[in-house]
Symmetry: C2
Subunit: 493 residues, 2 copies
Amino acid sequence: MSKSLPKRSENYSEWYNELVKRADLAENSAVRGCMVIKPYGYSIWEKMQRALDDMFKETGHENAYFPLFVPKSLFEAEEKNAEGFAKECAVVTHYRLKNNPDKPGKLMVDPEAKLEEELIVRPTSEAIIWSTYKNWIQSYRDLPLLINQWANVVRWEMRTRLFLRTAEFLWQEGHTAHASQEEAIEETEKMIEVYATFAEQFMAVPVVRGRKSANERFAGAEETYCIEAMMQDGRALQAGTSHFLGQNFAKAFDVKFLSKENKQDYVWGTSWGVSTRLMGALIMAHSDDEGLILPPKLAPIQVVIVPIFKGEEQLVQITEVINPIVAALKKRGISVKFDTSDKQSPGFKFAQYELKGVPVRLAIGARDLGNGTVEIARRDTKVKATYPIDSVIDTVTNLLEDIQTNIYQRAIDFRASHTFKVDTWEEFMTIIESEELGFISAHWDGTPETEEKIKELTKATIRCIPLNAVEEEGTCILTGKPSGRRVVFAKAY
Amino acid sequence: MSKSLPKRSENYSEWYNELVKRADLAENSAVRGCMVIKPYGYSIWEKMQRALDDMFKETGHENAYFPLFVPKSLFEAEEKNAEGFAKECAVVTHYRLKNNPDKPGKLMVDPEAKLEEELIVRPTSEAIIWSTYKNWIQSYRDLPLLINQWANVVRWEMRTRLFLRTAEFLWQEGHTAHASQEEAIEETEKMIEVYATFAEQFMAVPVVRGRKSANERFAGAEETYCIEAMMQDGRALQAGTSHFLGQNFAKAFDVKFLSKENKQDYVWGTSWGVSTRLMGALIMAHSDDEGLILPPKLAPIQVVIVPIFKGEEQLVQITEVINPIVAALKKRGISVKFDTSDKQSPGFKFAQYELKGVPVRLAIGARDLGNGTVEIARRDTKVKATYPIDSVIDTVTNLLEDIQTNIYQRAIDFRASHTFKVDTWEEFMTIIESEELGFISAHWDGTPETEEKIKELTKATIRCIPLNAVEEEGTCILTGKPSGRRVVFAKAY
């Protein structure tokens, strides 16, 4: 707490890393690339989980749990999927340790306990789940099968960053099976819209809904939908994906069903997921040089009350006034912390709760008591004002709604001022080489080669082909070849 | 559904296995020893999680998340703990697959991607967590540290059974750190009482609270508390454990704190956990030859309403009457399913919901409509009766409470009639060789040798030294040596 955070304008990346640690969200662990999610960070994740889980259930999905391990023979069954993940798989090869005869008290892998078939720690669960679905699906009556799983997955990434890219991460993965292509596509689109709604209404992060180019598709998918959010450094962050799997996994695992017309056909599939990466998006979309700014809907503590007192007697007087306020706020479903600790000064506490992004702070001292007032500060704008005590409940309730709306609007405005319609390569390069960055809406000739070339030249990638893109004749920003619609380019996390 | 379940009296074990599968709770997976928890089973687990999580939070604990993997060097740091789990560890040795040059389209472990240090898939998380706590704890101000984690763990068991013993299972593990021995012991005892309360009040399963003998202690603990439940075959099932770790892990990981008295001392620890094994206890404690019997507090569907109708018109009439009932029940927080499907006969549905343990079933047909009545059946006793429609809401509400109480009382009565105070080896053997089995309260001389010998001779183990055991002079059932209190023996899962 003694040192202030690095400034975003000076070193955005360092600011992020430090903020994640100092706000007690997460830290690196003794295991390369794996993080510890600390209680405060985890409590935000729990709120995300709860909201998402409710949305999944409202759209007819049920939770289930499938094994952590995938036998290698199943893993490799869908070849594209296997190829996509093979280079980052943690592999279990043995099932026992034994005492190391050369080093008393130390253990070694028991060479006699080698598995006949290696087990892959799931990087994603299509393989194990579709091998199970084979037994669950016989007829159209068994469809659609709408299942979600909350789980940990492992992808052996070489360069990791807390929340954004870790070897192990937490996520949910939906895996659905359908009787027709249309229905599967409808599900894929429905779930990307669920994610977009969650990002916008809970995280207060506006997102572009779109489809990935063929290059960026999920390995094994026919089509990948995504939502892309803009961070405060102008970079894009992919915040969720929803895949139309066609019949790829059904064919790989021989999952057929008897249709209403009494014909055998392969099942159509989807999968979709969001992960603890959302934590990174949440942090980077709103926070400032003083610390986190959390949307009230996801803040573990929505209101903190800091008494300013000398001696027990003053605290008792303040407590008498505050207790009914705490009770009334809780009754409205608002989470409140009344921090009566005398180990830290009010100023220290103010900074601490700012760092942790608590949306609303009340401060009340002896003089306020006499005046019948409270000082209320909002975290997003840092505006402070004095209110009569008897208006506090409504003021706080309204403020929380206001903050949720305000930070969303701020993010929308930021994105608008960092989104550029570009028609020449020169303009494109100017933006991509500037510090501000942003989303570039430009024409592309639709070929993987051009996409690759642009990535090589600029490190910018096609984030998505927006779902609401208008048909528009144009010419590719790089090659000058004809294009039918603009796509979104950006540098990305 | 066509075949009925095996009878408990004929083959209890087969009955259990079949019930788990037919009630759609879980099934074996393609991975040896790992289960798939199906949606219906998982929804019961979710209810357990929610109730337990609330209890943990009420007692001051916070959730966090620690890595799945434990580097071997950390794993072996607490030697007793390491030794206890070494023989059942899944070990990750490689982090990449590559194309198999000999088998096109197939993958192989890339020998060049061998980890410098092997990673153990956590069988329990003391090691990784205490290595983290080292950085979190400096002074008494950082204590107590009260953290819980919901996670998957892996123990490579050779003989597995759905829910009861699986290579991977889901659980929660609490890990707390304290400034004094007294406080750590108090926490250990508090949490075993939380588990006991959950088992009795939510699962409706009475449990014996006790301490384990030294032989049966958790590897690395100074004392292990447990709760032991009796299944309908008279066997014991350990349903939860809470460990006082002393300073063992603090010493192994060098976790010290500065006390109020300004002295450096090692921290005192506890850990405690319950797992998906509770699902096995829940199933075996109450269910009958027709299927599951679920306590209303954990039943995903508490009330099912089955309309008996011919043609759309009758269904419309019934629906008009039923819709307000569904709404009123939901308003009371009761989960209701109104099953209007016409694909299955009412009789088929009745059997199906019996199999799945839905506590209350309403049936209503055209004649009931005329009479203004509904037939209500309770799952636990199978008693059916006809009630006026306008009394349904209160009747159902009362019935749910009644069923919760009744199955708990039934389990208490069963346990009482299968608990035997025994003073001679002959009596002991008679019970242990009978089919009914049960808990045997008998004297033991307190030595591991005698405990081992009794296990060898009878397969019965000391389940626990009950917390409420009275001081009582007696002689050991096997050796005749003096004993100060009775312990509980049983054959166990």
